[in-house]
């Protein structure tokens, strides 16, 4: 199972979700994409993004330097 990591440290909304959407095109269904970001907006944005696109939010962890978000690609999703 492939995993792709997208580094969005230092980047602001809407770039992290745009890069996540682009990354989803590069992986297969069931694969995961990990996003590293430090814009505090992502804490609410990625759950919303997943709800609308249908991708699965595996985890959203907050660390000192930012957030680590893991999303699993789902085929029903039209997002990205």
């Amino acid at each position: 199972m492939a995993d792709k990591t997208v580094d969005c440290i230092g980047l602001y909304c809407p770039v992290p979700i745009a890069q996540a959407a682009e990354a989803m095109n590069d992986v297969d269904e069931g694969d995961t994409v990990t996003i590293l970001a430090d814009d505090p907006g992502v804490e609410n944005d990625f759950p919303s993004w997943c709800r609308v696109t249908g991708h699965e939010l595996v985890s959203l962890d907050k660390a000192d330097e930012g957030y680590k978000i893991v999303i699993r690609k789902r085929s029903a999703a039209g997002g990205g």
Binding site: Y12, I17, A21, R51, V52, G54, A77
Partner: protein, 175 residues
């Protein structure tokens, strides 16, 4: 989409101020990132957002409006073209414009904190499938030649095109 249906969003960008244009492009990129079909209908000073930087070159004589109108209208149009440069570089914020200093300060602040600028958001939006539509009436009214628009603008249309997009859309915003 989670329910399998492709959602749509129709935006009208009527204003050319930096803050409004940034909000519009931000929403457009966000919508496209969430799998929506996004159309940005640019009209009046919103057209400046999708122009190349600077003062537009004079249109070719055959592109000048056929109905010239009152005496001096051509000179007036020429003066207006000079006073109305396009592109993100010349875009003033709606407040604290300070005769052009405000936009330079904002650009500096945004660049220092690595925020995406108008140019980057338009490119990003376009790569995610955002459609940029230019209002033909406004192009004529403001004397903006088509070749001064960015390559991301691929459609030229009127209100019916916007309304057709809007009735099919789940989100419609006027900015």
């Amino acid at each position: 989409m989670a329910d399998g249906k492709k959602r749509k969003m129709a935006l009208v960008l009527c204003a050319g101020e930096l803050d409004r244009v940034l909000a519009c492009m931000n929403i457009a990129v966000g919508g496209a990132s969430m799998g929506m079909d996004v159309a940005v209908f640019c009209t009046f000073f919103g057209l400046n957002a999708v122009r190349k930087d600077g003062v537009a070159a004079a249109p070719a004589p055959e592109e000048e409006p056929k109905r010239v109108g009152l005496f001096g209208a051509r000179a007036l149009r020429r003066a207006f073209r000079r006073l109305n440069p396009g592109g993100g570089k010349y875009m003033n914020p709606s407040r604290f414009s300070f005769w052009g200093l405000g936009r330079r300060l904002m650009a500096r602040l945004m660049r220092d904190s690595r925020m995406a600028n108008v140019d980057e958001l338009i490119k990003l939006g376009s790569s995610l499938g955002v459609k940029f539509i230019a209002c033909t009436t406004s192009l004529e009214a403001l004397g903006i030649p088509r070749d001064s628009l960015r390559a991301e603008v691929r459609e030229f249309a009127g209100v019916a095109t916007f309304l057709a997009e809007a009735v099919e859309s789940d989100v419609q915003l006027f900015i």
